[in-house]
Symmetry: C2
Subunit: 439 residues, 2 copies
């Protein structure tokens, strides 16, 4: 087990920079044909046989036996019991985090999630009605990646959106339950919880079974089987993004204590070996100090081996010609997490066009955002921040256009529609408009 980490050191002034940088960034979601085939079969079976199939796969994959799927449902009382059983600092921390996350998402709903309409001069009404989804499913992984914070981050936006029924699935291999996860479900107002996982749980939520209700959308992280299942049921239900490895990019002007930056790079790297931590900084001396802090701090970290593997395999410390160049490179990467470790973060923020979340200033460690600042920690990875957004209230709402054309409006609009419909060869469209014209 190694406890030394030397992220690749690059400089944008080097001749080979572009090639080396591209190689370091490269990551591709391999689809495994065997996984695909297994998932296809499981989904088809769950669709056909419902509960019986889910029970069978739960026995096979989770070593968990039950006579009925109802036995695998946890009651609200059981969730509350898990919460009550926690040490009080954990209870308080969960509730404080939930309160802040809820409050942020309420602001988000007010800012961008309310219905609106207006009337034209001729009395025609136009607008959009924004409504919550009827029922959503939240996938929560079991085992090593079982994070109570993920329960909050997935369930609370749904709750704030007004979703009347939030159904959580979480595998409990060999029956082992994670009390923090169940407590988080209690705090976040999850309505129903089933102890199932894998492709069979995704199938149960997408198609519905005798016991598990069919949902309208499924969100939440999972392994390759879960990701493949979500891709396959997309269209039947909505899904969130399929996440790649987590990433952090730190833009540093040299004003933040190097230890803080090193620890922020660690906090990304400790997730798993494929996580990516990158530092961009115009000051070579400061980069040396961060490397020094890495050397000094790494041995004391309990997850040193994972951190070292991640930093050695995918990390990079990059000297840029300027902060402006660092911002331009950041835009090419479109990172999931972007820290501006600068004494003047508002100078650089406007230059940063693509990122899941932007953390401004030395005091804003990514970890504060991960747990409790308020914004969501489910963020677009692998450059998808170019076109997608953090999980939010908007993911648990949908919009319906509203149109009420007045009689006067029908005269003006009818002439336009008729002309264009004839141009497209759609005569019934034209006639429907013309019938509303006064003779």
């Amino acid at each position: 087990m190694t406890s030394s980490a030397t992220p690749l050191r690059l400089s944008t002034a080097d001749a080979g920079f572009e090639d080396e940088f591209a190689r370091r960034l490269h990551w591709s979601a391999e689809t495994d044909a065997q996984v695909e085939q297994a998932v296809g079969a499981i989904l088809a079976d769950v669709r056909r046989r419902g509960d019986a199939a889910v029970l069978e796969y739960t026995k096979r994959f989770d070593a968990l036996e039950a006579a009925t799927l109802a036995e695998l449902e946890l009651t609200p009382a059981e969730l509350k019991h898990a919460f009550d059983g926690l040490p009080s600092p954990q209870r308080d921390a969960l509730e404080a985090a939930a309160k802040r996350v809820r409050s942020y998402h309420e602001a988000q709903r007010r800012a961008s999630g309310e219905s609106w309409s207006y009337r034209d001069a001729d009395g025609t009404l136009l607008g959009q009605k924004v409504t919550p989804l009827d029922r959503v499913g939240i996938y929560v992984p079991g085992g090593k990646a079982a994070y109570p914070s993920s329960v909050l981050m997935n369930a609370l936006p749904a709750h704030v959106a007004g979703v009347p029924e939030i159904v959580m699935v979480v595998p409990t291999p060999r029956g082992e339950q994670n009390p923090l996860v169940l407590a988080a479900a209690h705090v976040a107002g999850v309505h129903r919880v089933f102890r199932i996982g894998g492709a069979q749980a995704v199938g149960a939520l997408a198609y519905g079974t005798q016991t598990v209700p069919r949902v309208d959308k499924i969100t939440g992280p999972g392994n390759a089987y879960v990701a493949s299942a979500k891709r396959r049921v997309f269209g039947q239900v909505g899904i969130d993004m399929i996440a790649g490895p987590s990433e952090i990019l730190v833009l540093a002007d040299g004003s933040t204590p190097p230890d803080w930056v090193a620890m922020d790079l660690f906090s990304q790297a400790e997730h798993d070996e494929l996580a990516q931590s990158i530092l961009l900084c115009p000051d070579a001396g400061y980069i040396d100090q961060v490397q020094g802090a890495i050397d000094r701090l790494l041995p004391e970290m309990p997850r040193a081996a994972i951190i070292a593997a991640s930093l050695n395999g995918r990390g990079a410390l990059i000297q840029t010609r300027s902060m402006e160049e660092a911002c331009a490179i950041s835009n090419r990467i479109a990172p999931e997490h972007l820290e501006i470790a600068s004494r003047d973060p508002h100078r650089w923020e406007p230059l940063l066009r693509h990122a899941g979340a932007i953390f401004l200033g030395a005091f804003t460690s990514e970890s504060l955002g991960d747990y409790c600042a308020g914004p969501n920690h489910v963020l677009p990875t692998s450059g998808t921040a170019r076109f997608s957004s953090p999980l939010g209230v908007y993911d648990f709402q949908k919009r319906s256009s509203l149109i009420e054309v007045s009689e006067a409006g029908a005269q003006a609009l009818g002439a336009i529609a008729s002309e264009l419909a004839h141009g497209e060869g759609l005569q019934a469209h034209a006639r429907a408009a013309e019938m509303r014209l006064k003779r």
Copy 2:
């Protein structure tokens, strides 16, 4: 060629209603293994060989030969020329429609697409920055489904969002260009147009070639090859929904002239044989009158054969026990287009939870919405209105969370984050928070 159309007549009071209704609604997007394989090969080839591959497929599938891909780009002057060459009523109608669609989407941006932020009592800033995508691709089909209105409906929201580069692709089999489509591109402010189509055009936009720039998102309708290609490049770029057959559902209380309702059903049915038109009404006599109007009006329609095939194969006239029951059934269908043909549409609108667009009152024919009322005509089909929304400005924007924790904020948040991070076994997360605490 038949010119008679008798949509299936049902009543919710019939014993067999549920089964017959389910059969009529059934539609599933079959994926054709041959299409999938061909598309996979084309995409891989375009990714590898770029321009050369696109030129080869364009020659093979569109019977259009060119020495370079640059030859297949249309200049802004050519688009303007197409516009100038239209009869003036068409020019005026295109411009009037564009003006209204633009104005609606500007209201949409103001209502839900602006950046926002707030500061906590301790000075911590939280918010979201909303930015346009850098570059988007719009797929416009050639041939029989080449609709200039689709150009407006895809390009204008991107334009209003502030996307600096809108790249349109449109196949021109055997070199045949559709002047209305090119004129619409001119009116909608499309920046670049390439005369390519099919999976090869989707690949060119997703990966970029020597000549076609790589985009961040691809929207717009297409055939099975285009739909399959869009599914496959999803993740690499964003995509809009994959559309199924178009649908209309009319809720009628008997107060709208039956001819108008019949023509609205036709205007959906004339799109193609798989389009679905459904009438829900508690008044059997009124349903008879609509059937009478269908019989009378159909023979005079130029697209009578398509309309008859659609209505006979997939249409339905359903007598309900009440308007309330009609609303409940509509919610189960979650139709793309929903007309409330009632003298009191605002009584029913609040009961309707799922629909792409809701058309209120007798004067609001779907065709007015399709062309020029203002709201987008790209709407969720096949029940996906349960969880998705009309194409809008928001599809051409993405959000980045903003977090700036003050020194005071770091004290309160640090304690919470540290507690939860230790609970998850992520010690570097905890340490990063703890380092920001004052000693």
